[in-house]
Symmetry: C2
Subunit: 279 residues, 2 copies
């Protein structure tokens, strides 16, 4: 764990206590369960710690889907704008680029320690004005042309609507969209993918895990098989990047916004920069 990550885990606890207002004993139990986890696992990687922090949260707050309302709200907001964005993508000179950029921008919708802006629509417009800081979309397009099978790793609700738009725009015949196995933060699950109609544009596959990331050690055999069988993996978001940046898949592209200093530093960009980068 980087020391910045320590503060992020504590902030997750604080924001959940603010949101759910448990009684003092429950709050204290929750706080010190995470406190002990962090003390006992100082060297554990961040996505594993985040997974366990959220398990503790669900248990102590007695709620299996802590961000259910935010998930629905983000999905509904972006679904409501879907036809407009689809038209915009269709009308640009380079629909692939516009759709890919929107898919990266969708990554701002994150209810983890990095709280979502009140006005998501305004934030999307702001990011649209900016260029990608690392822009390997040419390589990505080429890789897509060569790949017989593509595994697209989803990240958050709301964002998933832009993923659907990108997948429709790609028009590739063999894409699988992977989702979390259980609700964690506002990450997209099978249910959420169904809600936005992802199952009508490609195959949807659960990774069987409850990490806000893609962690092979926690994933189902079926997912692991699909991961290594895919010619190309498109990984959305910082959580998936943290879990997979050292993975051994030979052909993986990361599409994300660098939401914190340690990840920006790893990528050699600034915080809030957008990237499409090949590993």
């Amino acid at each position: 764990m980087r020391h910045e990550c320590y503060f992020c885990h504590i902030k997750t606890v604080e924001s959940l206590i603010r949101k759910f207002k448990p009684d003092a004993d429950t709050a204290e139990g929750f706080i010190f369960a995470v406190h002990e986890l962090l003390a006992a696992n100082r060297d554990m990687a961040n996505p594993q710690l985040a997974t366990q922090v959220h398990r503790i949260a669900r248990q102590h707050l007695d709620n299996g889907n802590l961000y259910a309302a935010e998930k629905k709200e983000a999905n509904d907001l972006l679904l409501g704008q879907y036809e407009d964005w689809k038209k915009r993508v269709r009308d640009t000179d380079d629909p692939f680029y516009t759709a890919a950029k929107l898919a990266v921008i969708g990554n701002i919708i994150d209810y983890g320690a990095h709280s979502v802006s009140r006005d998501i629509s305004a934030q999307i417009q702001g990011f649209l004005q900016q260029d990608l800081t690392i822009d390997m979309r040419g390589e990505l397009k080429e890789a897509l042309g060569r790949a017989e099978s593509v595994l697209y790793l989803g990240d958050n609700c709301g964002e998933v609507v832009f993923d659907k738009l990108l997948i429709e725009t790609l028009g590739h015949p063999n894409i699988t969209f992977a989702v979390r196995g259980k609700p964690v933060i506002n990450d997209v699950t099978e249910e959420d993918a169904g809600y936005v109609g992802m199952d009508r544009v490609c195959r949807v596959l659960s990774n069987g895990a409850d990490a806000p990331s893609t962690l092979m050690d926690f994933s189902s055999d079926e997912f692991k098989e699909a991961f290594y069988a895919a010619d190309l993996v498109i990984s959305k978001g910082q959580g998936n990047f943290e879990g997979l940046m050292e993975c051994d898949h030979p052909n993986i592209f990361f599409l994300l916004i660098a939401k914190c200093a340690p990840i920006a530093e790893l990528l050699g960009v600034e915080k809030n920069n957008m990237v499409i980068v090949r590993r």
Copy 2:
């Protein structure tokens, strides 16, 4: 410790690491020294914990006066405005009230977990427009008339300039101004009191302790004697309130801004309300 206070202690660590940018090992050592302190002392009162957190900070960051620059800046800013404020107090209908209110407002200058606004002057003007939520200044004035000796407990740098103005305005012949025994956060020490000329308007006395509060268990015998011998105690700021709210002095008034939810709740006011309240 209230659970809200837990997050405040962690924020102190985070803001000091942001400020001093120690290397990763030092940062981790500092973080987990505080982490262990909190785990081992879940039931300790907040001001005692704050004292120990700041001891750990000074030790790990190898710096005995972590807020030296902020202290000087706040003192210089308010000293530069001193003659203007003095004139304003002199020209009002009720100089005692204006000076007392300014002394309460000075309490916004706090570099603990509650970070100081960039524009202190604008913030002072904002608070001047508001009334005190609990206003026992009538009782305070009466108590001052009867008291033969007054112990005035100082709080922060910058704020101390308004304390000096209030003490000058009171014109009481026997006031002692108490300061911290060692630097802690931006709290006023003997050196700071001398810097703003407090020693020219009244006696200055160190409490001998390094708490960002007034804690009898940590204070010198000389201070304890002065405390119990004083006919009237005027206690400035939230830190002193937290340390003394259950003390057994028969005649103590608290002048402060309630800077966090737990203290506001204890006082029956809202966060950021100003109070002059007798215990």
